[in-house]
Subunit: 262 residues, 3 copies
């Protein structure tokens, strides 16, 4: 019988806190700060890099590597490929966040190259990004109903991507979906305000890396635990606002909750 | 009879929120996060890029493009020129923020190249930056009284830049000034604390892009509406502080106000 | 008789506020925002750059330069060397933050090159980073007890680095240590939460630059004053939290305190 996301969160969160895994995040310049602070909040140790040799050396001592193509360019790709290959050789968890795949050819090609060359353990994106990675998906995923990650049709597409790439596929939306081969799990909850702050997707990918670092044998469960952590933090933060759209307050309370939820 | 900035804000703010325009911001790495969160707060959709092909593709689907030279370098210029030219070809609003023009030769040359090659719809800066763009301005604008954007002499200089470049010129200060050809408008209000946070000028340029995206026929009015939005948010934030120089609180309340002001 | 860090802080903080020194920070993309906001909070004027010519020009008008290798790469090194050499030629304070020196060969070599080529006035790091800079230190400083900067053995090592490099050495930890030749000083206080936010070390290096800018004849005292400022701000922020691990609140209160402490 599958375990509930809440139970996975309660089991793994203390392990992240106790072990403080080093997570190498090669990520975009817009939200790197959120990724670093989220990792620190849950008890992990963040490190970032823009240099190929530096990143490869860090990947040799890290417990997980996260690749995020949000502000990709040729130099970034060289760094990401070097770190990703090192992670793959060492067998540590490797998370790919294909930010905006489907929006431009450059992003789709970058995501494709990283998938083929580094074989990520977990792919974490929103539904439009995930569907863009399926063979035969063409061009921008305009009009995709991002609410529907857990619809029967999209669930099957996510599971297909998981089988084709040999990776756990973790899809965010009003209800999150995690797929591994034939298995799928849903994570409800959260807050719509999470989509009104920049970087909540990026920081979730970083957290997925931290959770996978302490449960490398179970990336399916680790992704669920991290996703539940963020959803619970979003719920807690939204419940504390003095006005329902106070995004400044929401950001503060989100990091409070990431650090204090047990 | 000219319309008051408050009236323009009240008309355009709901349109930004309703349409959620995609704004491509090619901006500096110090305050990109503020730009993204400010765009999200007012209901727009931010996207950033560091790659020439990626940025040009994004400019083909964006509703406005913002170029900010705060941390320019040769690679940035290539990306900015590609996106700026695409914006110009498509006729969508293009905003230039000439951060620090006049402080160094590199910045002045970069601003000049972007002005000539991409012909921005709106130029948004502080007085020293704007005056540096006038022909014959030489070297650093030390000693410029940045309070004086709306003095008769500076008002005429800003209007002259507008006529020479065929652009709306939007100048921030204790009283903001917007010039288009012979027309000028003043936006009073705001808070001195806005100059004590990094990135408030950058995020304003991003907001100007969002407002111009929903009123492409009226960049003169759109700039005023965006500037009034920030000034109102600054006023609201400053009024809520538990101590008058609490910059941490001010930042939180500023984003609350950007998201909630109607 | 040596002066207490509190007395140095009380003397220099008003001078930073009154003079508003321009501090050029060539720093990593993860925490540049914190550095800029911290400089603004204490009354200094931040500027950043990613371009060699731009940075060299800015170093010609700045009152201090800070080099931080947190996300070094070949392009960064070229920019940092140009600005560092200009600072050295002009005799203005130059601060080196050797982030992660000892963690990778790339970082150690970068720190070594900047030490040799630019001869910093002040080296600011944690104990592992500082010890890695000593001749004969090899590889990662795993297992270093970072609490022990002021132990007799480590104190002597920091003083030795100071003598060998002709620089003030400023080491952060539960008790901070500053060494200049044979002299050392301790700065107690602070909060363990300072290590749970990203960028507090980076922003401290920026503040050390601001303080040294107003006391260029006394980098030993300036470093102590800046370090005491951050420790006091951490204490004030920690005392105001509604729950002891509320990292979101802590960040807000830290910037409040940086701006308001006298």
């Amino acid at each position: 019988m599958p375990r509930a996301p809440d139970s996975l969160f309660q089991e793994l969160a203390p392990q992240v806190r106790a072990r403080g895994p080093l997570v190498l995040s090669l990520t975009n310049f817009v939200t790197a700060n959120e990724c670093a602070n989220a990792l620190l909040a849950v008890g992990a140790a963040p490190v970032m890099s823009l240099d190929r040799d530096d990143a490869a050396d860090l990947a040799r001592v890290a417990s997980a590597v996260v690749l995020n193509i949000g502000t990709l360019n040729p130099a970034f790709m060289e760094v990401a490929l070097a770190a990703g290959r090192t992670a793959r050789e060492r067998g540590i968890p490797l998370v790919l966040d294909p930010v905006g795949a489907g929006a431009t050819r450059a992003r789709l090609e970058a995501a494709g190259a990283l998938l083929s060359e580094t074989k990520p353990t977990i792919i974490r994106g929103n539904l439009a990004e995930i569907l863009a990675l399926l063979p035969g998906a063409v061009g921008a995923q305009k009009g995709v109903d991002s609410d529907a990650a857990h619809s029967p049709e999209n669930r099957e597409k996510c599971a297909r991507l998981s089988r084709e790439r040999g990776a756990v596929v973790a899809v965010t939306g009003p209800v999150d979906l995690v797929a591994q081969g034939e298995k799928t799990a849903e994570i409800p909850g959260g807050s719509p305000l999470l989509t009104r702050l920049t970087g909540t997707g990026c920081l979730l990918s970083a957290l997925v890396g931290a959770y996978a670092a302490v449960a490398p044998e179970d990336p399916f469960g680790a992704a669920q635990a991290a996703m539940r952590h963020l959803k619970k933090a979003g719920e807690a933060a939204a419940s504390l606002l003095s006005a329902p759209e106070n995004l400044g307050e929401f950001r503060v309370r989100l990091f409070d909750a990431l650090a204090t939820l047990r």
